[in-house]
């Protein structure tokens, strides 16, 4: 069987499928208001760009959770990267969004002070830059969930240029969801799971999570029909309809039950889970990734003798990023949103990053 060229995603944007699914959702009324949370910045963009919230029945609200790895990266870790560039003469390579994230010292400000900060699209580009200037120390600020962490792991496992170190700010999704679903918290009625994270990890960790926190959850792709399919699966569970699957999968063309075994192997070989801070959520047990064993010496903090300064705060006064990241507040409820805080002049991390909820909401218009 072959995919139709030029793009295998096209059929999942078909208007008739989207209309049909919207009608289906309206029929799945559980007789009470429902709030489903997604935890992926790319989902927020896809939902906004397709205007999916306008298609939802009035009793169904889809909110955004802590799904933007740049946004949840604590200011103290950004500050570490910026000080490496500004004070230690290290060339810092980072994803574009990371450069503008506010901190005591942002990477952009470090650059203005003469620090060398470069935008890269991934660790391969950072390795190429480091290899081209073997006499200078480079550090790659490794931000991202399992999706990105496995690319860091693959490059580390294959071998980095000797002058390149890794500032690991990687985070794991399941521990954050577990914290989010803790009893007494602002738990949603259902979770749309991030398809590209699950492409790597598979469904197993989420099935285990569901045993502890039995909230309906389904993996979704990023085309409109795939997101609506996941919502329909969640609503059927809320109506009490049984399913053979503990965790739904509306992204079967990419998400396999066991994920990508090679990527999981790379992650396990290179990293070990450690307690880590999340902007807005605080410290979450075993939610971060540290380089392990023979790879530990590649950590930029170790190589350059630098550590997070606990005095660096995450939020500027008035910023409600913390609540937005939890889905406890909509961006529009923040007094800074769209006025003092815009993508051109951001005050909070959620407005900086392409995947930030505030950024996506500002770009794609109002929520319902």
């Amino acid at each position: 069987m072959r995919f139709p060229s030029p793009d295998p995603s096209l059929p999942f944007r078909a208007p008739e499928a989207v209309r049909g699914l919207a009608a289906e959702l309206a029929r799945l009324d559980p007789g009470r208001p429902v709030r489903v949370m997604h935890v992926c910045g790319t989902h927020e963009h896809a939902i906004g760009a397709a205007g999916l919230r306008d298609l939802l029945p009035p009793w169904l609200r889809v909110t955004a959770g802590p799904g933007c790895p740049v946004c949840v990266c604590p200011a103290a870790e950004i500050d570490c990267a910026a000080r490496l560039a500004a004070d230690r003469g290290v060339v810092v390579a980072a994803f574009g969004d990371v450069l503008r994230v506010p901190s005591r010292l942002s990477l952009e400000e470090a650059r203005a002070r003469g620090g060398d900060c470069r935008v890269v699209g991934g660790i391969e580009e950072a390795a190429a830059l480091a290899a081209a200037e073997p006499g200078r120390p480079f550090a790659f600020h490794a931000v991202g969930f399992e999706t990105t962490a496995c690319t860091t792991a693959a490059a580390v496992r294959r071998g980095l240029p000797a002058n390149l170190s890794i500032l690991s700010s990687h985070r794991l999704v399941p521990p954050a969801l577990e914290a989010l679903l803790a009893p007494g918290g602002p738990a949603p009625d259902g979770l749309v799971l991030p398809g590209h994270v699950l492409a790597v990890t598979g469904l197993g960790e989420y099935e285990a999570l569901h045993r502890r926190r039995p909230v309906p959850m389904a993996a979704a792709g990023f085309e409109p029909a795939e997101i609506l399919l996941a919502l329909a699966w969640i609503l059927r569970r809320l109506r009490g309809e049984p399913s053979r699957e503990r965790v739904g999968n509306a992204y079967r063309r990419v998400v396999r039950r066991r994920g990508n075994p090679e990527a999981r192997r790379a992650l396990a070989e290179v990293f070990e889970p450690v307690d880590a801070d999340w902007r807005g959520l605080g410290r979450i047990p075993l939610s971060g990734l540290a380089l392990r064993g023979r790879f530990a010496a590649l950590e930029a903090r170790t190589r350059h003798g630098i550590a997070e300064d606990p005095a660096v705060g995450d939020l500027v006064p008035g910023c409600r990023c913390g609540e937005v990241l939890l889905g406890a507040a909509e961006p529009e409820e923040c007094a800074l949103f769209g006025a003092a805080c815009t993508p051109e002049s951001p005050r909070g991390a959620c407005m900086v990053a392409f995947e930030g909820t505030c950024h996506a909401r500002f770009r794609t218009g109002a929520a319902r």
Partner: protein, 77 residues
């Protein structure tokens, strides 16, 4: 950050490959998808292919969608 785009594998050599989408070609690392072959569609993120797209699974979902699409279409009778 977890943005992934599908690309068709054009060539593959020792984990290094080239992918193509809509006429745009990019180098793609294939270390994490050892089974990928030229002609396969892969999901690419941050320069790495993370998964090989499964056309049979896609077709299953599409068949379900077509069914819903038929049901959802309002045809006057």
């Amino acid at each position: 950050m977890c943005l992934g785009i599908p690309m068709r594998v054009l060539e593959s050599r020792d984990g290094a490959g080239e992918g193509e989408l809509a006429g745009v070609r990019r180098p793609v690392r294939l270390d994490l998808v050892p089974a990928a072959r030229p002609g396969d569609w892969v999901l690419v993120h941050a320069g790495y292919a993370l998964q090989v797209l499964d056309p049979a699974a896609a077709e299953e979902t599409l068949a379900a969608l077509r069914e819903v699409g038929e049901i959802g279409r309002e045809e006057p009778r």
